[in-house]
Structures are given as C-alpha cells and as structure tokens.
C-alpha cells in the first residue's frame, strides 16, 4: 500500500489529470450529479415548457413564443412584474440601509468577547416559523392590531392608521424583517476583515472620523454590502407568502401569479414562462448592479 501510493503519482505524470484531481472529482461527483439531475435538468425543463402551450388538458409541444407574447402584451403580467421588481428593490434598499448600522455597531463597538452573543441574538428570531412570523406582522399592522392599539392607548393617534396593512408597505416591512440576518451577517463579516490600522492611518493623515468612514470603511465593506444586496434582492422576487398574507390586492407579486398558473389554472407553460421572465429580470438587474460596483470587488 505504501509503495503503491507513491507509484501512482509517477505513473500519472503523463496523464492529464493528477491523482488529486481524480480523487477530488470522484468525491464531488455525488453532490454534483444531484445538483445536475435535480436542479439543472429541471430548470432546463422549465425553459422548454415556457415555449410550449397549454391546450385544455394536454400540452401542445410545438415550440412557440405565444406565452412570451401574452406575458408582454397582457397588462396584468407586466403590472405584476414591474411591481415585484420595485417591491424587491425597495425591500433590498430598506433592509440593507437598516442593517448596516447594526453590523457596524457589532463589529466596531461591541466588546470582542460579546460579539458572538450579539450575532446569536440577531439570528434567534429567524428560527420562528416563517409562516407565523408573516402572520404575526399582519396581527401587528392590522386595523385592530398591536401597533394601532398601542399608539391609540398612548394617545399618539386618534384613529387607527390604515396605510400599513394590505398594501405594498406591509410587504416591504414584513420582508425587511424576514431578511434582516441575511444582510447583517455578510456586512458584519466584511467589516470584521477591515484592518483597523488603516482607519488609524487615515485619521493620522488628517481625515476626520466622518470622511474616514466614507473614504476607507465603506469602500472596504462594499463586498459585504453587495453580497447582502444580492442575497435579499434575488429570493424576494420568489416569495408568495408575504404578498398573499399582508399585501392585499395591490400588494400581490409575480410569484403569486406563478403559483396561480401552476396550482389553480393548471397552465404550467404560462407559469414556466413567468418564472423564466422573473429569473431573467432578476439576473439582469443583479449583473448590472455587480458591474456598476465592480471596482469594489477588485
């Protein structure tokens, strides 16, 4: 065995793959094959379906752009798509802007021994059932809800405020809450990596605390901010629970339509088309965003 191990290396020298490479490929293959069969192939099936059409109970397998034509011409689809992208964008901005100071606080002001505790505190709420968290926001924001009864009882308002439930605002608040840890953690990790002596150097060279933040800290934290932005923006478009529970008719998003097409209207090709379009839109916006920020990513 001992000798065999060395011999393999010698024999393999004129082989394009080294022993290490072959072992690595063999080891990763179960996971890679799983992803290939259960993600790549199904995604390809969705794209194929989007070019087919539903003909009552059967599927017409002639390739056509009919679904795409319908998706672009019927105002209901374009309204939902534009609204979804706007809501996702606003949620992303709100979540990242609210989360940054927290990540900054934990990284720069919390005693190193207690940082893990703060991170733990931040992640705990997210192990409550996701459905119930969304539902509880409905309870908080409702006409007779926690927020309104609280504000009424301390006399801040005279009658219940209604602009915070069953519309896009409610969707933004709820999603900003749902994605909080996913934004705080990457920004925190980026801030932790910053060499503190750089900040001292900046101040020694005459920058104020304020300008140091904008000229040194923020640019160095940008990789974390970019990661956080993508981690929020991309999945948000696929959420149909929050719009359904707190969005009301004007807060519904494209995912609700995808769900309806698949599960209620039994029109898988149209659902597939909308899914493909949503994916393309999100990917395109993400790529433009990363491209615009490319100088921070080296």
């Amino acid at each position: 065995m001992l000798g065999g191990f060395c011999d393999v290396r010698v024999i393999c020298q004129d082989d394009p793959l080294t022993t290490d490479a072959r072992r690595g490929l063999a080891l990763i293959s179960p996971t890679a094959v799983y992803v290939l069969l259960l993600l790549a192939a199904p995604l390809a099936a969705v794209v194929t379906f989007s070019f087919w059409t539903q003909d009552f109970l059967t599927i017409d397998r002639t390739l056509t752009l009919a679904n795409y034509r319908e998706a672009f011409s019927d105002p209901i689809y374009s309204t939902l798509m534009v609204r979804s992208l706007i809501i996702s964008g606003v949620v992303t901005i709100v979540t990242v802007v609210l989360a940054f100071p927290i990540a900054y606080f934990v990284s720069f002001y919390v005693d190193p021994a207690r940082k893990a505790l703060w991170i733990f505190l931040i992640t705990i709420p997210f192990w409550t059932s996701y459905l119930l968290r969304v539902f509880l926001w409905k309870v908080i924001l409702g006409f007779n809800g926690v927020l309104n009864s609280g504000l009424l009882s301390i006399g801040l308002i005279d009658e219940p405020i209604t602009f915070i439930l069953y519309n896009a605002n409610a969707v933004v608040i709820t999603l900003a809450h749902a994605f909080a840890p996913f934004t705080i953690l990457p920004i925190y990790v980026a801030l932790e990596k910053i060499d503190r002596s750089l900040l001292e150097a900046s101040q020694d060279l005459g920058e104020s605390k304020f300008t140091t933040f904008f000229r040194v800290t923020l640019p160095l934290a940008m990789p974390g901010v970019i990661a956080a932005t993508l981690i929020v923006f991309i999945p948000t478009i696929g959420d149909y629970v929050t719009p359904r529970l707190v969005g009301g008719p004007d807060g519904l998003m494209i995912s609700n339509m995808i769900q309806t097409q698949f599960l209620k209207l039994n029109n898988a090709p149209m659902g597939a088309t909308l899914a493909v379009l949503a994916m393309c839109a999100v990917t395109a916006i993400s790529l433009v965003f990363v491209f615009l920020n490319r100088r921070y990513l080296r």
Partner: protein
C-alpha cells in the same frame, strides 16, 4: 458608554426583530380568540387542544420524516463536496462548487416550480414526501457545505498522511482520523438542515402530496380565525424546539472548531 446613538439604534432594531417572536407566546397563552390587545387572561387551553387534533399529528410525523431524511442526505452530499473542495484541487472546481451553492440564492419558488414540472408533467409521478425531500435536500446541502467546510478547513493534513504512512488505507484514515475530528460539524449541520426542512413552506406547498407537512397544515389553518390560538400554541412549541436544537447545534459547532484548534468566529453562516 461606547457607541452612543448607535447603541440606542441597535436596541431599537432588536425590538423590531423580536416583536413578532414575543407576540407568539403572548397570544398562545391568551384566553381570547381575537388577536388583539388588551389580553383576556391566562390559559393553557390551546396547548391542550393541540393534543386532540389528529391531522396535526399526521403532519408533524410527516414533517419529521422529511426533515430526518433531508438532513441525512444533505449531510452526506455536504461531506462529499466540503471534503473535495477543501482537500483536493481539480479542474472546474469553482464552477462546480458555484453550481452546488446556487440554491442558496435561487428564489425558492423556482426550485419548487422546476421540480414540479419534472415530477408531474415530464414523468407523471405522484407527489409525495419524497418530492419534498428532493427539493429540501437541494436547498439544505449548501448550508451543510458551509458548516462542514469550516470543519474540514482547519484539519491538519499531516495527521491523515501519518495514518497512511503507518499502513492505513485511504478510507481507513478518513474513517478513523478525519471523521472523528469533523463529527461535531456533522452533528451541527445535520441539526441545521433538520430545522430548515421542518420550517420550509414555499417548496413544500408545491411538492407535498396527499399528506401535508407541518407548515402546509399551518397554512391551511390560518384562514380560520377560530383555529388561530391553537396555531399560536403550536408555533410556540415549534419555537422552543428550534431553540433547543439550535443551542445543541451551536454547542457542537464550537466543540468542532475547538477540536481542530481554530479560533471561534461566532455564529452560523
């Protein structure tokens, strides 16, 4: 005090984060059936009610079965990928690892829809617990890889080489040297995957068969105002269970980091 305004903001933000979580047990023990203040007094009636709902017990067992199988599969697939990526260099490593981690950022509805199309439309198979497991394994594996990678990363490669030099086979060295060293990471990633699968709704709703999972059952109950207090009680129990599981997972994760001699960087992800 350091931080000043930032500290006040941080506390306010924590209140925002904990607001729904605090309300959950509050309404679970509330006598009234309406979800509003003022509270109507203390009761454990809703918890007692839970014991008598048979549909719920079925959903719970179904969810636990799915979560256990999902976590086992994810950990096995995770070990393969984490070990391969930390120990070996091979061609197309970055794109392969990238593809495996994609479900982490892919909208869940896309995973759900694509599996639904393949199972129902292409193969015309019935939906069952196994279709949910297929979807959950896809989204849990990246989490398992993230946790396991940090366990494998810190390993001293000379330990394994020493074992091989002393006559162990590769598999023997892996089993008797590497596996014990990364076992805390394995336990931690198993528990995290279990918890994620148990709580996952978006994929389960599309792929579940005749027997609902626990979140799908909860979704069906949210429409009925009279059922809400019992759902709150159920949510409270699930929260307590998750916290216990996560505390155990965190304990094992830290032990794992300590075992390979690393420095604790705190928290999952």
């Amino acid at each position: 005090m350091r931080g000043g305004w930032l500290r006040i903001y941080a506390v306010a933000y924590l209140v925002f984060l904990y607001l729904p979580v605090v309300l959950l047990p509050l309404f679970a023990f509330n006598k009234g059936t309406v979800m509003a203040f003022p509270l109507k007094g203390f009761t454990t009636e809703w918890f007692v009610q839970l014991a008598g709902i048979e549909a719920l017990h079925g959903a719970l067992l179904n969810s636990i079965f799915i979560a256990v199988v999902t976590a086992s599969l994810s950990v096995i697939l995770g070990i393969c990928a984490a070990r391969a990526s930390t120990r070996y260099s091979f061609p197309f490593k970055a794109p392969i690892m990238g593809a495996i981690m994609v479900p982490l950022v892919l909208p869940e509805i896309i995973v759900a829809v694509s599996l639904l199309v393949v199972v129902v439309q292409v193969f015309d198979l019935p939906l069952s617990a196994w279709t949910v497991i297929a979807g959950h394994t896809l989204i849990c594996t990246p989490f398992a890889i993230a946790i396991l990678s940090s366990s494998f990363q810190g390993l001293d490669q000379s330990l394994e080489e020493a074992a091989i030099d002393l006559g162990e086979t590769r598999w023997g060295a892996f089993r008797s040297i590497i596996l014990p060293l990364v076992s805390p990471g394995i336990v931690a990633s198993f528990l995290i995957c279990f918890t994620i699968s148990l709580d996952e709704f978006i994929i389960a709703f599309f792929l579940t068969g005749a027997e609902p999972t626990l979140p799908v059952y909860i979704w069906s109950q949210l429409r009925f105002p009279t059922k809400i207090p019992a759902v709150m009680a159920l949510g409270t129990l699930m929260l307590v269970a998750s916290l216990i599981i996560l505390t155990v997972a965190e304990y094992y994760r830290r032990r794992g980091v300590a075992r390979v001699g690393g420095k604790d960087s705190g928290g999952f992800l």
